[in-house]
């Protein structure tokens, strides 16, 4: 895998990253709403999945996203001390810290995973988080290394390996 940043090459390909964002309902989702009401323009590569709280997010959601073909993910919730549910974000912070470090150890570029605290009033910060994540992942290029792990026969009944068309034998 070559996960080094190569801005020029990647951009020239017209590669547009796919980024999944897991956000909490109370702070970041509302902050993203605010970005909308404030008409703050941002990159269109991010797709939001709304959850009640960052405490609800299992790190496996992120693994699952990569597995399904995401090039990057964003996890965002309430700032420390602001959690709607008091402490969900603190638990999430620990879980993601461990996950973040483990993924780095396994060889995933941490720039593919953006963690942020965005409050309901930080529409502009949400825009910045989105644009920065998109720029980072765009520079890193598609997450081919992960997609290469998919079984060759995934989703398509194409001949694989030693298999040949019926008429050939």
């Amino acid at each position: 895998m070559s996960d080094a940043v190569d801005t020029s090459g990647a951009a020239a390909d017209g590669f547009e990253p796919r980024i999944t964002a897991f956000v909490c309902n109370w702070c970041t989702y509302t902050g993203a709403d605010l970005a909308g009401t404030s008409r703050l323009h941002m990159a269109s590569n991010v797709r939001i999945i709304r959850l009640p709280c960052t405490g609800r997010i299992d790190p496996l959601f992120i693994v699952k996203s990569f597995e399904r073909g995401a090039d990057g993910v964003i996890v965002s919730g309430c700032h420390p001390a602001d959690c709607h549910y008091t402490s969900g974000n603190y638990h999430a912070r620990r879980r993601f810290a461990v996950f973040h470090d483990l993924m780095e150890f396994v060889g995933v570029d941490p720039r593919r995973m953006t963690f942020s605290w965005v409050s309901a009033s930080e529409g502009a910060k949400w825009r910045d988080v989105v644009d920065e994540a998109v720029a980072n992942v765009r520079a890193l290029g598609p997450f081919e290394a992960y997609r290469a792990l998919a079984p060759e026969d995934a989703g398509v009944a194409a001949p694989a390996g030693a298999r040949v068309e019926a008429e050939a034998s």
Binding site: Y29, H41, S44, R47, L51, G55, R68, G69, T86, S87
Partner: protein, 675 residues
């Protein structure tokens, strides 16, 4: 198989301008499981809603996706519409293609593509939605108020006046709290006792208030609307039903030199005592620690060493063998109003705090705290209102008032401002000057914080009219030098050191939460801040609620508060409780966690992360009733639906309804392959 209806809203031009709504409609037509698609100018309008309802009926839809604005805006609207059309309202979700799409993108192609993705994702989610019913919880319409200070009294009265029973628990022998100790109150200088006593009596006599003094909350079980509270009635040694408050026992008691708590140590009391003359109830309590009889019993004397009070009591109300008793109350809501205590500058401090060595650790008798000054100034106090210094009873001619002792001193462990000291210091200076006309009142302050109606005017009056000398600067050292108390200060405005030979020094010591608040908070599953004050649910919008539903907070146990603040908070909790009691049942969203008992192994990691104490351990039994293990159980009345338990469950044995793993996985699956 799912039959989903997808409704795309143009929101006038708001969505339509950047998103090609027809294209989105077209794209969703072919989507697996979609049975109906339609776009419309204003989906939230009445005709728009009619369109949804009709489509549900005509097409036998099993789910509805409205692609429009944020669910925060109209989710309720469309769910209601579905409900009216006979579709379970939780089968309806919104795809946010306005705030999260049309308003933040310019390129029509990109925006349209993204709108399709967003809508598809929600369609995939709705495929896995389950019809849910709201949760109904019965409500016991009785309130518990913990703490009988002004906040507790006010809350109890408001609830009781609203027609509901209140159980008021006070750990001291009388209600009244700190306010009963005060002389006059700022900013009006009206007599504290005069305004408080009627309230105390009203609370005592109110038919809806059940008062337990000399009592503490032992245990709290249950949840909003359904608490069971165990109250410890500490052995008073005086039968409350028999006692007529005549005071003969006090007269008879030989132990007369016990420092009085009410007088802040400036006066004495007997071992059997009524804390103060206006106490409510006017029933004495026997202080076993200092009682001659009990001292003797502790030493193991065969014969009781005293018994004078019992002899003196004509009603035979004294019972030396009384023991603590327990009562259980069924409660629907709880108000915590345990108040405050003052920081002491002494050498011995609770963990996290330090004392003032530079002020002699409080060993100089003429250095007193604000509450002691209140007693000195009080007409009912030990000096009958004359300002006399403790060491020799002389009238002090120079009194130094020191602000911010403990407060705003992070080195001593208290970083916060105690809020009321600036005001009561001004009051003290005034009261002193009113009583000792030739006296000199010097106040060392850092900032004057007198924000409040009439507050700044009040503190200015102390300086301008009553001639208090205000010096801006903190005091470095206080020590006794012969007959005087030396105060080393600095005047940061005139830039010089100031040394004052004072006759008496009054320290405005910080307000701290009462001892035992952390333990109480634990019993109630509410959290406390680093200093031990009880945390409100939201600092701005839910200031009198806690993070445990049904538990409210009033007064200085939440943060330093003055009387008007405490009373306002108390009335606010009263309103909260009354609104909770206004219906027989509580209706809650079914977004709660459910445990799969078949796979749960009872490791209780979920309970450890639950901020609401909603998860308990439950035994599970085989068909023949034999206990074979334990599992977690989520109390739907307490669960707030954050889902942290679900994420922490290793075997995925908890599911948060409305945000199940299957729903989220479907969304992820739909999102990433969006070509």
């Amino acid at each position: 198989m799912s039959r989903i209806g997808v409704f795309i809203c143009h929101c006038g031009e708001n969505i339509g301008r950047t998103v090609d709504c027809e294209a989105v409609t077209e794209a969703l037509k072919d989507h697996p499981g979609v049975a109906f698609t339609e776009d419309y100018k204003y989906m939230c309008s009445d005709p728009g809603q009619q369109l949804v309802k009709k489509a549900i009926e005509d097409n036998d839809l099993t789910g509805v996706v409205v692609a429009a604005c944020s669910p925060h805006m109209h989710e309720k609207t469309f769910r209601r519409a579905c409900d009216q059309a006979g579709l379970n309202k939780y089968m309806c979700e919104m795809a946010n293609i306005r705030e999260h799409c049309s308003w933040i993108h310019e390129d029509r192609g990109e925006a349209t593509e993204k709108a399709v993705d967003i809508t598809r994702t929600i369609v995939e989610k709705v495929k896995h939605n389950q019809p849910l019913e709201s949760i109904h919880i019965p409500v016991t319409k009785r309130a518990l108020v913990i703490g009988g200070g002004i906040a507790g009294i006010q809350a109890a009265l408001d609830i009781a006046d609203g027609g509901h029973e209140v159980v008021l628990v006070e750990k001291e022998a009388s209600i009244g709290g700190h306010m009963s100790q005060l002389s006059e109150t700022f900013p009006t200088l009206d007599c504290s006792q005069c305004i408080l006593t009627p309230r105390m009596v009203e609370a005592y006599q109110h038919p809806n208030i059940k008062l337990h003094t000399w009592s503490e909350v032992e245990k709290v079980d249950g949840y909003i609307g359904n608490f069971t509270v165990k109250i410890r009635k500490k052995a008073r040694s005086v039968n409350e039903d028999l006692c007529n408050g005549c005071g003969d026992c006090q007269e008879a008691c030989p132990a007369k030199r016990i420092p009085s708590e009410f007088e802040a140590g400036l006066g004495n009391r007997t071992a059997i005592y009524v804390p103060f003359p206006q106490a409510v109830p006017n029933i004495p309590v026997l202080d076993r620690q200092n009682c001659t009889l009990f001292k003797g019993r502790r030493k193991g004397l065969a014969k009781d060493a005293c018994g004078k009070c019992k002899e003196a009591c004509l009603k035979d109300a004294i019972d030396y063998d009384a023991e603590d008793t327990f009562i259980e109350e069924e409660i629907g809501a709880i108000v915590v109003a345990t108040g405050f205590q003052l920081y002491s500058i002494g050498r011995e401090q609770p963990e996290g705090l330090k004392g003032y060595g530079e002020y002699g650790y409080g060993e100089v008798p003429d250095v007193i705290d604000g509450l002691q000054f209140e007693r000195l100034a009080s007409a009912s106090g030990p000096t009958a209102g004359a300002i006399l210094r403790p060491s020799d009873g002389k009238e002090p001619k120079t009194v130094v008032f020191v602000h911010c002792v403990g407060s705003r001193d992070s080195e001593k462990g208290i970083s916060y401002c105690s809020k009321i000291c600036c005001m009561y210091n001004a009051k003290h200076a005034m009261l002193y000057k009113h009583k000792v006309h030739d006296g000199r009142a010097v106040a060392f302050y850092m900032d004057i914080r007198a924000a409040g109606k009439g507050y700044d005017e009040f503190s200015r009056r102390a300086i301008e009219e009553d001639g208090a000398e205000y010096i801006r600067g903190r005091v470095s050292r206080i020590f006794r030098d012969g007959d005087v108390v030396k105060v080393w200060g600095y005047d940061t405005l005139s830039q010089e050191q100031v040394v004052i030979d004072a006759d008496m020094v009054v320290l405005a010591t910080a307000m701290r939460p009462q001892d035992g608040v952390r333990e109480l908070a634990q019993k109630l599953s509410v959290s406390t801040d680093e200093h031990g004050f009880i945390n409100e649910a939201h600092p701005k919008l839910r200031p009198v609620e806690t993070n445990t539903a049904g538990v409210f907070v009033a007064g200085a146990c939440q943060a330093p508060r003055d009387i008007p603040d405490a009373v306002a908070m108390a009335s606010a909790t009263g309103a909260k409780v009354l609104s909770l009691f206004s219906a027989d049942e509580l209706e809650r969203e079914p977004a709660v966690a459910i445990v799969n008992e078949n796979t749960c192994i009872g490791c209780m990691n979920c309970a450890k992360v639950c901020a609401y104490g909603a998860i308990e351990q439950r035994e599970i039994c085989t068909v023949d009733g034999h206990v074979c293990g334990h599992v977690a159980y989520v109390n739907p009345g307490v669960c707030q639906g954050c889902g942290t338990c679900q994420a922490v469950c290793l075997s995925k044995s908890v599911e948060l309804q409305t945000f199940t793993d299957e729903q989220i996985f479907s969304e992820i699956n739909a999102l990433c392959y969006w070509e």
